[in-house]
């Protein structure tokens, strides 16, 4: 009986473990240069769901240097984990809701602790281009409209739990719950060998370069990433981890 239970349990874990995504080609809606129209993405593993408050609490217990009281101001802003009741208590935040108010540095530290890393932008976008049935639904106006409807909604005061419908890769909640950090967020909106850090010129130039209004959702994500600093935290910004090899 006991071994049966263990088999059943490990099968359950296998189904909940990271999903394999790719290989595939990511077509940025706003290629930064002519050589970046088609970006080959090697196969990788991606958490099926965003990291939750409960997951992150376990990390903070294991690595107290990343608790709200101890995290270095070099790596987090003053609102880090500000939605928790205390340094090690969730309060009204749901354990199964995505953790938010985490910085890029802290998200990276979490993923390293889990034996992974943050997904790169091209990897995240490849995974997020899938709807329930198609691996690439990026050209489907219905799918894009659905994402834009979510972008138009304000973030609820208490985020709901993870566990939305799986997409064709078996990954959930890439849209509809929170925005997510990517490893190379600083690459967003760097469009030339620039001594010019102004990002505002992107509005006209890049958006006009795209004739396809469905690319607007992608543009929103790119613009959001491009506006962030590594220490920033936000009420609607979480993350999930990626892995170069199967974590099991």
């Amino acid at each position: 009986m006991r071994s049966l239970a263990i088999v059943a349990l490990s099968a359950g874990i296998a189904a909940a473990g990271p999903a394999h995504v790719g290989p595939g080609i990511y077509h940025p809606a706003f290629p930064a240069s002519p050589s970046e129209r088609d970006i080959a993405v090697a196969g990788f593993w991606l958490d099926r769901e965003p990291v939750t408050n409960a997951d992150y609490l376990a990390f903070v217990h294991a690595v107290p240097a990343w608790s709200r009281d101890h995290a270095r101001s070099l790596f987090v802003d003053k609102d880090y984990l500000g939605h928790w009741a205390s340094s090690d208590g969730l309060g009204t935040a749901l354990p199964k809701a995505p953790v938010v108010r985490v910085s890029w540095f802290s998200a990276r530290a979490y993923c390293a602790w889990r034996g992974g890393r943050l997904p790169r932008e091209a990897e995240w976008e490849l995974a997020a281009a899938a709807d329930a049935r198609h691996r690439d639904a990026s050209a489907d106006p219905t799918f894009q409209a659905q994402i834009l409807r979510w972008y138009a909604k304000p973030t609820p005061a208490i985020l709901p739990a993870v566990g939305g419908a799986a997409n064709a890769w078996g990954v959930r909640d890439l849209h509809g719950l929170v925005w997510e950090w990517v490893e190379d967020f600083t690459a967003s909106l760097v469009t030339s060998d620039s001594r010019d850090p102004t990002r505002s010129q992107v509005c006209g130039a890049e958006a006009a370069a795209s004739k396809d209004p469905s690319a607007y959702a992608t543009f929103m994500r790119t613009a959001f990433r491009g506006s962030l600093d590594g220490r920033d935290t936000a009420t609607s910004l979480g993350f999930r981890c990626a892995y170069d090899r199967s974590p099991r």
Partner: protein, 195 residues
């Protein structure tokens, strides 16, 4: 996050695609000066780098000296020589008292190509004196340092890096006291260094 909100407005204005505007002229550099000794020291970052002599050094290699820090990549043909030139210009304009005290740390985005030998070649070709340190960390640590310094970069398929330039001035303890984004008149930066 203020910039995030601004950008959302910027994004909103693109809902009606307009005529592609002509490229705007390069903006003047933005220099920000902070009161000294506030904020964390970037020397807290545990980053190991290989310098042009092949030695393993930490970010705090210049602790005790005011330091200009920036990032670059060695095979860059336009912006990076301009960056080295701009920093050299700043050093030349410093008052004599601080000119010898100041140090420069240039950290590469490109550890694969910026080996110690390649960095040593750059030191020679640009005639950089002992105040300058050129070094390369791991790719992961380069990304960490860029995020801390607020330098944005993208690796392009052909091995080029698109990046913003910022020259960050650190006090003797590694705390940021001034930064210049873009290249141009470094007057405010020089004033901050002279203090």
């Amino acid at each position: 996050m203020r910039r995030a909100i601004l950008l959302m407005f910027a994004a909103a204005c693109s809902a009606r695609p307009a005529e592609r505007p002509a490229a705007p002229p390069p903006p003047p550099p933005v220099v920000q000066v902070r009161p000294a000794a506030v904020g964390p020291s970037i020397y807290e970052l545990p980053i190991a780098m290989a310098d042009s002599k092949g030695a393993t050094i930490s970010l705090g290699v210049n602790a005790g000296h005011p330091t200009l820090i920036s990032m670059f990549y060695g095979s860059c043909v336009v912006a990076c020589p301009a960056l080295i030139g701009a920093i050299g210009h700043i050093l030349d304009q410093l008052p004599a008292a601080s000119r010898d005290d100041v140090r420069v740390l240039l950290v590469s985005f490109d550890p694969a190509r910026d080996t110690p030998a390649r960095l040593a070649e750059l030191v020679r070709s640009h005639r950089l004196d002992a105040r300058w340190t050129l070094a390369a960390p791991s790719e992961l640590d380069a990304r960490t340092l860029a995020a801390v310094l607020g330098i944005r970069y993208r690796v392009v398929a052909n091995g080029e890096f698109f990046h913003t330039s910022a020259i960050v001035t650190l006090d003797r303890d590694g705390r940021e006291i001034a930064r210049m984004e873009g290249l141009g008149d470094p007057g405010a930066l020089i004033a901050a260094l002279g203090e």
